[in-house]
């Protein structure tokens, strides 16, 4: 099977105004199959947009190779460079980039007009433009100008323009970040349905992990221009390749420890911890586990990784209740669907299964787990049960 997009060893440096060089893409490699919905996920400034723009040809990388549908569009070894207008891609911009002097229909028709072969009749173009507009549910707006549309309608127009000439690969640069939450939910679902129905390959940039989880068949996590991990949402969540991925996706409890062969576990401030994952090659380790993997019970369970803790805070969050617990110098957050089981001040037993404990090489510079837990502000919708308890 031909890969839809293949990227190898891609590197791109920018020179800032003050002369410092910054590597926006650093030796990136990723292979994307036809029909996939790939999400490039990472914090702001990690190089997502730059990577997307190099695929589109709007930015020229320094070295590496990009091929689309088996054809090299950029290759530094033989100096191939295909200009963007010949790459047969579509792109949906963060700002939508609708042309304000053209009606919605003319905006959507434009990509058809630029096609050199095969030529299509104007009537046919109009028909296809209208069809694309109907696909996204705004057929009746074709005579309007972009300035007369709401944010969500502008977005649909931009989507229709990206869909209209049936490009096999469509690029999305945070296209949902400019509308309010409700419209965003709806558009997300529609976008996914449209992609499944039409079968194009989507490369979607976002910094929002919920969005990534919902849309992606696979997620590529980026950090400072490097591709940290590529995998399905579940893989990324359950088997993060690096501590960075683990902490960026979802919430984690973290504690640092050192490998103690005599216990075949780690000794930490919280006591000995065992993990079923491989031991790090360095003596010090970052030990992470997710709040939903901790179990709170009132009587002592059997097995490893069992700690007697004090509940210091409870936070009702709807789906689950967050219990903040403390023992010795350590503390952790636990999510449990059992609401109001414990009140602040209660004693309880915490256990974490060794399968759920993730271990990464430590670098010593990480904040201790207690600080991390306390610095995180509670969600605004949370109901503090401290007073009630």
């Amino acid at each position: 099977m031909q890969h839809a997009v293949q990227i190898e060893g891609l590197t791109k440096e920018f020179t800032r105004r003050d002369g410092t060089r910054i590597r926006a893409i650093d030796d990136a490699a990723i292979t994307i199959d036809p029909g996939e919905f790939i999400v490039l996920l990472g914090p702001s400034g990690c190089g997502k947009t730059t990577l997307l723009r190099t695929i589109a040809g709007l930015e020229n990388p320094d070295s590496g190779r990009i091929s689309i549908d088996g054809r090299d569009v950029f290759a530094s070894h033989n100096r191939t460079l295909v200009p963007p207008e010949q790459r047969d891609l579509s792109m949906m911009f963060q700002s939508y980039a609708l042309w304000p002097h053209m009606t919605v229909r003319n905006n959507v028709r434009y990509p058809l007009e630029t096609r050199r072969r095969p030529r299509i009749a104007r009537k046919e173009m109009d028909r296809r433009a209208l069809e694309a507009l109907e696909t996204v549910g705004i057929g009746e707006l074709s005579g309007q100008y972009p300035g007369q549309l709401s944010g969500g309608q502008q977005q649909r127009t931009a989507l229709a323009r990206a869909l209209v000439n049936g490009s096999p690969v469509i690029l999305f640069d945070e296209p949902l970040s400019n509308v309010d939450a409700q419209v965003r939910e709806q558009l997300r679902a529609e976008l996914l349905a449209t992609q499944r129905r039409l079968g194009f390959t989507a490369i979607f940039v976002t910094h929002d992990q919920n969005e990534a989880m919902e849309l992606a068949t696979r997620i590529a996590v980026l950090d400072q221009g490097k591709v940290q991990q590529v995998g399905t949402p579940a893989e990324i969540y359950r088997n993060p390749a690096t501590a960075y991925v683990a902490t960026f996706i979802g919430t984690t409890n973290e504690i640092s420890g050192t490998w103690d062969p005599s216990q075949s576990g780690f000794s930490t401030d919280a006591g000995p911890i065992r993990s079923s994952s491989l031991t790090p090659e360095t003596a010090s380790a970052r030990i992470l586990w997710r709040p939903e993997d901790g179990k709170l019970e009132s009587s002592r369970p059997s097995g490893p990784n069992t700690f007697e803790v004090t509940v210091t805070k409870t936070l009702f969050l709807g789906l689950h209740t967050e219990y903040v617990v403390r023992w010795g110098k350590a503390s952790a957050r636990i999510w449990s669907s059992e609401h109001h089981r414990f009140c602040p001040g209660d004693q309880a037993w915490l256990s974490v299964s060794p399968e759920d404990v993730m271990v990464f090489p430590g670098d010593g510079a990480q904040p201790t787990e207690a600080e991390a837990a306390e610095d995180t502000p509670p969600q605004s919708s949370a109901v503090l049960s401290e007073a009630a308890g």
Partner: protein
């Protein structure tokens, strides 16, 4: 689904990434890019080669190395008077302009005497009333015996029993000259300071207030130091303007026997026979040194102190309520604006309509006779008018078109080449107009080109001198469209030409028309390039006004100047209407803001 690339946690840390080969792969230039580059290098050549010519001319003459030009310049008997006069005039007027500009900006940004119209009018003053016409207007007002304003003041004073034969003011004095220079320098300082005040992060001021400092103390300790860079920039622009200013000095300073360098350069080249190029080059070099020096000083000031940050977004500022002083302050601002623009215009029109310059205006007998005899019956004035209009239309068109191609290139391909082109095109703004005009004359006026006194040399001169303005205006027009809209077209499969014609051209049009109009006004009202490059055969409007000033009737002088003001005023009105109508300065890239504006 392909296999995941999840490495096991024990994977050894990756070695250092090999340094990428920074093989900048130049994209094959499209025909659009090629045309742009040709245009850009032509434009740069017509600016840079003349400058080079002046620099070389200092040490190279008739094929050999010589310091003759410099030696002869230094031997000028009145050289130090020239330099002294120029420095006093430029520095005094710049200081006054900073003070007035600051007061106006502060009133308009920070008090309830603010007046939106000020922002619309003040920046356009030099366009509305070109300096050559303004200088004539001020003479009509403040000449000691028959200046209209002087007569009105004398009449008013006589009501109180004070009788004066002349005065009380005399425009042909140091203070008169400084006054008119200041009026024309204020827009530079006002715009800079006003913009800085607007974007000034007022939390800095609030912090000072909360720590117990009063308003004045805060102004002195926090606001003013933070504004220093923009005050400096305004001052620099104002000195730059002063060093290159020819028309005001020629018309007001010459009768007062205050000689400045700019006027001497023109006299050496245009009004002496044979023209003395050596001395002109030597004096041009002095101008360049002074302009360079003021850059250096500004650079040092900026570097020596830590200035408060000016945050990009404008914040809500405390507006001071002036209470009973509000009408007074408003009145003063109004008097300044009227006094600096409307009064000189009234002077011009009254003298032109009256037919001759007399303090006793015959209100019933005003007529267009002077216009008629000047514009219709005087062939050289008529020719000058047509030459100027033609050059303004054609030069404006060529300048804006070329500048917009270059702006587009610079914005779309943010390469080192683009940045270099941009800097080279805007450079004349930082060197003196005067010097470039001298260079063009030296380069093209004589052998082998022999373009002296032709239409073409004037066209080249205007383009070179006013290119920076054209370039800045077209940058703004390109910025309005933004990058995304063009890229969206490229990704849709459109080539450069198609993107230009379908996306950029229609969206930039209102901005470009406005830019064209401003360039047109600059060219029609110009006297710097005109005085040096226009020979007596191929006269343009500014030069004709100078000729009439040197030996013609005042009515004719007023009529010509009024005609100039009418032309520039009409075109300016058109620009303002256009920009109000199409919102030339509004950005269209962010959908949110676009929606919010509606």
């Amino acid at each position: 689904m392909t296999a995941t690339q999840t490495p096991p946690p024990t994977r050894p840390p990756r070695g250092p990434v090999p340094k990428p080969r920074l093989s900048r792969m130049p994209r094959k230039p499209s025909s659009f890019d090629t045309l742009t580059l040709v245009l850009a290098f032509t434009l740069i050549a017509i600016v840079c080669l003349p400058l080079l010519q002046v620099v070389i001319g200092m040490v190279w003459k008739d094929g050999e190395f010589t310091f003759e030009a410099i030696e002869r310049t230094l031997a000028l008997p009145d050289l130090w008077t020239l330099i002294w006069n120029t420095l006093v005039l430029v520095i005094a007027s710049s200081v006054c302009a900073v003070v007035i500009g600051f007061l106006l900006a502060w009133v308009n940004q920070r008090t309830d005497a603010r007046w939106g119209l000020l922002n619309d009018i003040l920046p356009y003053l030099p366009f509305l009333l070109p300096p050559v016409a303004g200088a004539v207007g001020w003479i009509m007002l403040l000449s000691p015996t028959s200046g209209l304003l002087n007569v009105w003041i004398r009449d008013a004073l006589s009501l109180f029993g004070v009788d004066l034969a002349t005065g009380p003011f005399d425009i042909h004095t140091w203070y008169g000259l400084i006054l008119v220079y200041t009026v024309y320098a204020v827009p530079y300082t006002y715009l800079n300071i006003s913009a800085a005040l607007e974007s000034f992060d007022s939390s800095l001021e609030e912090a000072s207030r909360l720590s117990g400092a009063g308003y004045l103390r805060t102004l002195r300790r926090v606001t003013l130091p933070a504004l220093a860079p923009s005050v400096g920039a305004g001052f620099l622009l104002s000195t730059w303007f002063g060093f290159g200013m020819f028309s005001i000095a020629a018309i007001i300073g010459t009768p007062a026997q205050i000689d400045v360098i700019a006027v001497r350069i023109v006299n050496l080249l245009t009004f002496s026979y044979p023209p003395d190029e050596d001395l002109a080059i030597g004096l041009s070099a002095i101008v360049m040194v002074f302009v360079g020096l003021s850059y250096y000083i500004q650079f040092r000031i900026l570097r020596s102190a830590r200035f408060g940050s000016i945050s990009g977004k404008s914040t809500q500022h405390n507006i001071i309520r002036l209470g009973p002083w509000r009408p007074v302050v408003r009145g003063l601002v109004l008097i300044y604006v009227l006094g600096s623009t409307v009064l000189p215009m009234i002077g011009l029109f009254l003298v032109a309509l009256n037919g001759y310059w007399t303090p006793n205006i015959d209100w019933g007998g005003l007529s267009l006779d002077a216009f008629r005899s000047t514009l219709i019956h005087d062939p050289s004035a008529r020719e000058a008018l047509f030459n100027s209009l033609g050059l303004g239309i054609v030069g404006g068109f060529i300048g804006i078109l070329a500048a917009s191609f270059v702006s587009l290139y610079v914005q779309r391909r943010r390469t080192a080449l683009g940045a270099g082109i941009d800097a080279a095109i805007k450079m004349p703004a930082s060197i003196s107009n005067m010097v470039i005009a001298v260079g063009i004359l030296l380069l093209l006026g004589g052998d082998p080109f022999n373009l002296g006194g032709t239409w073409l040399i004037l066209l080249i001169g205007y383009l070179a001198l006013y290119l920076p303005q054209a370039s800045i205006a077209s940058d703004a027009a390109v910025a309005v469209v933004g990058k995304d809209l063009g890229e969206a077209s490229t990704v849709s499969g459109a080539r450069d030409w198609k993107t230009f014609l379908r996306i950029y051209a229609p969206l930039m049009l209102p901005g470009l028309i406005g830019a064209w109009a401003l360039l047109f006004i600059r060219i029609v009202g110009d006297l710097t390039a005109s005085a040096i490059l226009s020979g007596t055969e191929n006269v343009v409007l500014g030069f004709r006004i100078l000729e009439v000033f040197n030996g013609g009737s005042y009515a004719e002088l007023a009529a010509l100047s009024s005609t100039l003001v009418l032309i520039t005023g009409t075109v300016l009105l058109f620009v303002i209407i256009l920009s109000k109508r199409f919102g030339v300065a509004k950005t269209q890239s962010a959908p949110r803001t676009r929606k919010a504006r509606r």
